[in-house]
């Protein structure tokens, strides 16, 4: 394998905070893909939203930060994950 890092990463998002979502329990029908490949996978998460979000593009495409994860894939070492707003479910609503 060969690694190079020709790209510079200027974050193309605007950060924000939604107090209504702080501390809210949520589930994420998540998943992702390997860039430039056809490999992808579904991943389920559950945890608590911090209220922090990132808006990508003009739509905007909003992503919320979920931590205190109570459900995550076995090989997911992190304790927090960013989730697409359209893929969130709120079990308490």
């Amino acid at each position: 394998m060969r690694a190079s890092n020709e790209e510079t990463h200027t974050p193309p998002y605007k950060s924000g905070f939604n107090p209504d979502y702080k501390g809210k329990r949520a589930e994420c029908d998540g998943g992702g893909r390997m860039p430039d490949s056809k490999h992808a996978g579904r991943q389920d998460f559950a945890g608590t939203l911090t209220g922090d979000y990132r808006d990508f593009g003009d739509y905007p495409w909003r992503w919320y930060l979920m931590n205190q994860l109570t459900l995550k894939p076995d090989n997911f070492p992190q304790q927090a994950v960013w989730c697409d707003e359209g893929s969130l479910e709120f079990p308490d609503d």
Partner: protein
């Protein structure tokens, strides 16, 4: 009896048969479209320029008929990292295991080492760049293969495009229908690639129930490789089928010959659900790489993209040197019925004929 294959989906797209080919191969897509079916070209792995070229290529060959483009929008993302940071995260134990597999099976080094530089960084940014081309080209159908397409619906509809969503859970379907998604693809566990955990026979009727009264057509996906599957999907209430594995060994498919042979030889039990290739759990054909990572002395599978960094040389080496014994590809449980290399047009007509035979047999029983 009216034509049981002429469904709402056929009306919505102006197509003859309610059969959608998901493919990464442009020739397959064009052959299916020109034979009366519909095709969606997977473009997740391509740059915006490449996508634009492919769209033009298809348009030049289908005489105004509609077609679709699929992108795998992400739905969850860990904190982004550079590729150097990611490389440094691969533990020695897993590196040693990769080397041991390569030695044991005499895996050749790839001719050109996979370039990993795009694997760090932001999935969302990449998806947004790809989406711009889809909008610029006003592609008739955009299919989101994973994440919710809710955020682009307004813009797509303003441009006269349809947006389809591929879901693995009934609740995703409910949410996407409420947001205004035009067509839902209910993908069951039998499917190739990034399937969820609910079987096709269980998810399809539940999604049909969720869509009832909304006018949103539902397409069944996962393990569909015969006309009996097509008839069964319609009996479950679906308006059509979305098929991937069915086209992999077709005459037009650009997969290399040994891989097609491997797929023709493979049975249902060879289509395994494992995370050993990319770190994401996917259904792919069994290979020595799968067997070794499933063995008792295997270290834990790493998260994406680290696991893919480990498997990429193995996969590329197997393809570069046409090592059928090492090859793997995404494939669904219906692979059992893929037993010969046929032209796409014939695959479609065989599927349609068999489904019609099923309906005829039921009609005969009624008489």
């Amino acid at each position: 009896m009216s034509d049981p294959l002429h469904t709402q989906l056929c009306e919505k797209l102006g197509i003859e048969y309610p059969v959608v080919a998901f493919t990464h191969c442009k020739d397959v897509a064009v052959a299916v479209i020109n034979s009366g079916g519909f095709a969606v070209l997977g473009e997740a792995m391509h740059t915006p320029d490449h996508i634009a070229e492919d769209i033009k290529w298809i348009r030049d060959r289908v005489g105004g008929k509609p077609f679709g483009i699929d992108l795998v929008l992400p739905a969850a993302a860990p904190e982004e990292k550079t590729v150097e940071e990611l490389m440094a995260m691969i533990p020695q134990q897993q590196r040693d295991f990769e080397q041991a597999i390569k030695k044991k099976y005499d895996v050749p080094e790839p001719k050109d080492a996979p370039d990993l530089h795009t694997w760090g960084g932001l999935d969302q940014k990449r998806a947004l760049d790809q989406l711009e081309v889809i909008f610029d080209e006003k592609v008739p159908v955009f299919a989101s293969g994973l994440g919710s397409p809710a955020f682009i619906l307004d813009r797509a509809h303003q441009l006269g495009m349809q947006v389809w969503g591929l879901v693995g859970k009934p609740r995703q379907a409910k949410k996407q229908i409420a947001a205004g998604t035009d067509v839902i693809i209910a993908q069951g566990y039998d499917a190739a690639g990034h399937t969820g955990t609910i079987g096709t026979f269980s998810i399809v009727p539940q999604v049909v129930d969720a869509a009832r009264g909304t006018g949103v057509p539902v397409i069944a996906a996962g393990g569909i490789t015969t006309g009996r599957h097509l008839a069964a999907a319609l009996a479950l209430g679906a308006d059509g089928v979305w098929t991937g594995s069915l086209w992999l060994a077709s005459r037009e498919s650009d997969l290399n010959q040994p891989l097609k042979e491997r797929l023709i030889e493979a049975g249902t039990e060879d289509a395994v659900f494992s995370n050993c290739i990319s770190g994401y759990t996917m259904r792919t054909t069994r290979s020595p790489w799968h067997d070794e990572w499933a063995s008792a002395d295997a270290p834990p599978v790493l998260k994406p993209p680290l696991q893919m960094m480990l498997s990429s040389d193995y996969i590329q080496g197997s393809l570069d040197y046409q090592r059928k014994d090492l090859m793997t590809e995404a494939a669904g449980q219906g692979i059992h019925y893929i037993t010969e290399m046929k032209p796409a047009r014939q695959i479609l007509s065989d599927l349609v004929e068999e489904a019609l035979d099923v309906f005829d047999a039921f009609a005969d029983d009624d008489e």
